[in-house]
């Protein structure tokens, strides 16, 4: 049995993973979180390993999976300044659980690690060196999922995958450019706020806006709250502003507008990444909601007719988690993968535990 954690402020998502199946829950990250998880986890004696997702590895953590030791704990704490709301939860959770279960291995999953090797041309912001020295660069995120998608695409299309754009569709839609398994660029920047608007994050905006809000009397904390938690699709749709609210059900005023923006931004970034890859052979979509996403994907792919994207008219065959969407003889590989972060974390944890055994 594995115990896995994923911060999602103001919540903590956690899961008991046993015999290939995930039992996932979510609780408010307040005074009661530990008691709630403990009660829900059942017999702790059966836990073989604990895994924690770190959304931002800062400038020091560059391994996708790391076995936690007292030294690494300090390094993890140093990342809090990069993404306080998320990383603070991860730190508190791992602090508590390493104390609670000292005898078993604990692993840190770093979601920015896959992008730590971004070429300088993509990873650098065009600001003075003095500012770059503070750790300001493009870190990306969702690296575990994009790396996993690359492997899935390679096993689906064999040797025909070289230049791939990987599109994660969800509450926090984001896109990565990959070449031969390495990341070349991503929509997510210094923080996950940059890029495509998310459920509550504003996405790409003119940075002058920050200064204008500040001079109108807002504090840094308030501006951060506003751009990270009160913007994005929430600004259009109100409380029900998740990815599924946007893509499912009948059209509405804010919804049509939101869907148009999402499609438009995905379109732009696929184009931008095709340019830096100097062409494309594989377009991979990843989502937790494949059926609900199919209409959106068809709409996006319809705009790339000129690149040789042609989809098969068939629906998704039942029972799988990976679908080849491209039509016979189409120039471009198009695939859809159903992602489950718990499965990805569990697989990695199990392989790490096995590795350590004599």
């Amino acid at each position: 049995m594995l115990l896995l954690f994923d911060p999602e402020p103001p919540y903590l998502r956690w899961c008991v993973f046993e015999e290939g199946a995930a039992r996932s829950s979510r609780c408010l990250f307040g005074a009661e979180w530990f008691r709630t998880v403990r009660k829900g986890a059942g017999n702790l004696g059966r836990v073989k390993g604990v895994g924690y997702l770190l959304r931002h590895g800062g400038d020091r953590i560059k391994e996708p999976v790391l076995r936690l030791t007292p030294q690494t704990l300090d390094e993890v704490k140093d990342t809090i300044r990069f993404l306080p709301e998320f990383n603070d939860i991860t730190c508190k959770v791992l602090d508590r659980w390493t104390q609670e279960l000292p005898g078993i291995p604990h692993f840190l999953f770093c979601d920015t690690a896959f992008f730590s090797g971004l070429p300088d041309v993509a990873g650098t912001y065009a600001v003075p060196e003095e500012l770059r020295e503070t750790g300001v660069r493009r870190y990306g995120s969702y690296g575990l999922v994009h790396q996993w998608a690359w492997e899935k695409a390679c096993s689906m299309f064999g040797g025909n995958v070289g230049k791939m754009v990987s599109v994660y569709l969800g509450d926090h839609t984001n896109i990565a450019a990959l070449r031969d398994g390495k990341s070349l660029d991503t929509t997510i920047g210094f923080t996950p706020v940059e890029g495509i608007p998310s459920r509550t994050g504003c996405g790409d905006i003119d940075a002058t806006i920050v200064f204008e809000l500040h001079s109108s009397g807002m504090s840094f904390r308030e501006i951060n709250e506003l751009l990270s938690w009160e913007s994005g699709f929430k600004a259009l749709l109100g409380r029900r502003c998740g990815y599924r609210d946007l893509v499912c059900g009948p059209a509405g005023v804010g919804k049509t507008e939101g869907r148009d923006i999402l499609i438009y931004d995905v379109l732009k970034y696929i184009g931008a990444f095709t340019a830096l890859l100097e062409g494309l052979d594989t377009l991979a979509f990843i989502t937790r909601h494949p059926e609900e996403s199919l209409g959106l994907i068809r709409e996006i792919c319809g705009r790339f007719d000129f690149l040789g994207v042609r989809l098969s008219p068939d629906g998704l065959a039942a029972g799988g988690d990976a679908w080849n969407l491209s039509d016979h003889g189409a120039r471009m590989n198009v695939s859809l993968f159903e992602s489950d972060i718990w499965k990805i974390m569990a697989q990695l944890t199990e392989s790490m535990i096995e590795e350590k055994q004599p």
Binding site: A126, I205, Y269
Partner: protein, 406 residues
């Protein structure tokens, strides 16, 4: 009819006197530029005039744009060039006007727009006031630079911020270099004998100060790289272009940068200057690409960001017919064009590298290889001519109104 046009840069003032015949053909009677206005440096400030086939440059202290305008008006009086109205380029009208006569009400509105562009707008206002003081009876008008981008659809211009805030501050993508793009698009269609209807053009205005790119469909702007202000988009000479808005908060909250200082750094010390550490001039940077890793990175980032924008606009337009380069760097720097067009086969761009290197940059030139699906052009821009086009239309309206009254 003669029109005097003033076009303010951050440290320069371009001017032209256009003569318009009854068929509305435009001829440039005099042109010139004031250099290093308000700049304290080792090189002296000067005003350059070109008139009747001769060139003249006068070294003179230039404290601000208003003073430069007064000197230009004096010079015109001296030569004996008369004009019927004065047109000014206004940068950011926040959607209030495209072209309008300057009167007391408009001046109030213009003053309210100063905070959006705290360098350019006060400079333009100084020129307007200098003209009103010197020639109180002469009509003056302003033409807004951003009007060309008013056709950008909501999905491209909206920032997903709380609606109340957007309404209160007017946060949205405005875009800039609109006059330049209007000129370039019209000239592109004329040069290629191509109808604008159904056409897909990406134009890159690469200036020694600001740079941007635009996606043009059916002759209309559908997206552009600059945003609410001129800070976002491409890597520019001293502006950072796109950055994560949260990183500004990180620098202020965690490292204690003062907002004014940081804003200044992002606008005046970033971009090519920020990366290279020694120059904002791409020519200096190119010279040191071979032996200075920071110079190499600066040049590569400049090209890389532009390539990404072109790619995203190709996707938006669903393919590409014409790629156009304009303004100083766009027309004069063959290496930038060569690098940008390299590896663009995927969208049909193939550069004729020899034609590209040979192009003088002083006139319109075709640079695409014979087997290129996309036409590649350089078109030297003429923002002042567009201000002239607007002035002709305005004066016509005035004459019509006068004839109705009489």
């Amino acid at each position: 009819m003669n029109i005097l046009i003033f076009n303010c840069g951050s440290s320069s003032l371009t001017f032209k006197v256009l003569s318009v015949d009854p068929m509305e053909n435009i001829r440039v009677v005099l042109s010139g530029k004031a250099h290093r206005v308000g700049v304290k440096g080792s090189k002296p400030s000067s005003i350059e005039y070109e008139h009747g086939g001769s060139r003249e440059s006068v070294e003179t202290p230039l404290d601000d744009h208003g003073q430069a305008a007064v000197l230009v008006l004096d010079k015109l009086g001296e030569i004996g060039i008369k004009f019927d109205c004065i047109g000014h380029r206004w940068v950011h009208a926040a959607g209030y006007f495209q072209t309008a006569w300057v009167d007391a009400a408009l001046l109030l509105r213009l003053k309210a727009l100063v905070p959006i562009l705290p360098v350019h707008h006060p400079a333009i206002l100084r020129v307007i006031y200098a003209c009103r003081k010197a020639l109180p009876k002469l009509p003056e008008y302003v033409t807004a630079d951003g009007a060309f981008h008013s056709t950008i659809p909501a999905c491209a211009s909206t920032y997903l911020l709380p609606k109340g805030l957007v309404k209160k501050y007017g946060f949205r993508k405005h875009g800039f270099h609109g006059l330049s793009y209007r000129y370039v698009v019209r000239k592109t269609a004329e040069t290629l004998g191509m109808p604008l209807s159904g056409s897909r053009i990406v134009a890159c205005h690469l200036g020694t100060g600001g740079s941007s790119a635009v996606a043009v469909k059916n002759g209309e702007s559908v997206d552009t790289s600059m945003g609410y202000t001129a800070l976002s988009g491409l890597v520019m000479s001293t502006r950072s272009g796109d950055i994560d808005p949260i990183l500004t908060l990180y620098l202020m909250a965690v490292f204690g940068y003062h907002p004014d200082d940081l804003m200044d750094m992002l606008n005046k010390k970033s971009g090519l200057l920020g990366i290279s550490g020694f120059s904002s001039d791409i020519r200096d940077i190119i010279q040191r690409v071979g032996d200075d890793p920071q110079a190499k990175l600066a040049f590569e980032m400049y090209v890389y960001r532009l390539k990404k924008y072109i790619g995203s606009y190709v996707a938006v337009l669903g393919g590409l017919d014409v790629l156009v380069f304009t303004d100083d760097i766009g027309v004069h720097n063959w290496l930038v064009r060569e690098r940008v067009c390299a590896g663009m086969d995927w969208c049909g761009v193939r550069l004729d590298t020899q034609a590209n290197q040979r192009a003088s940059g002083d006139e319109i030139a075709r640079l695409d290889a014979p087997d290129s699906k996309v036409k590649v052009l350089i078109v030297p821009t003429e923002e002042e001519l567009v201000i002239g086009w607007e002035g002709i239309a305005l004066m016509k309206g005035k004459q019509d109104a006068a004839s109705l009254r009489s």
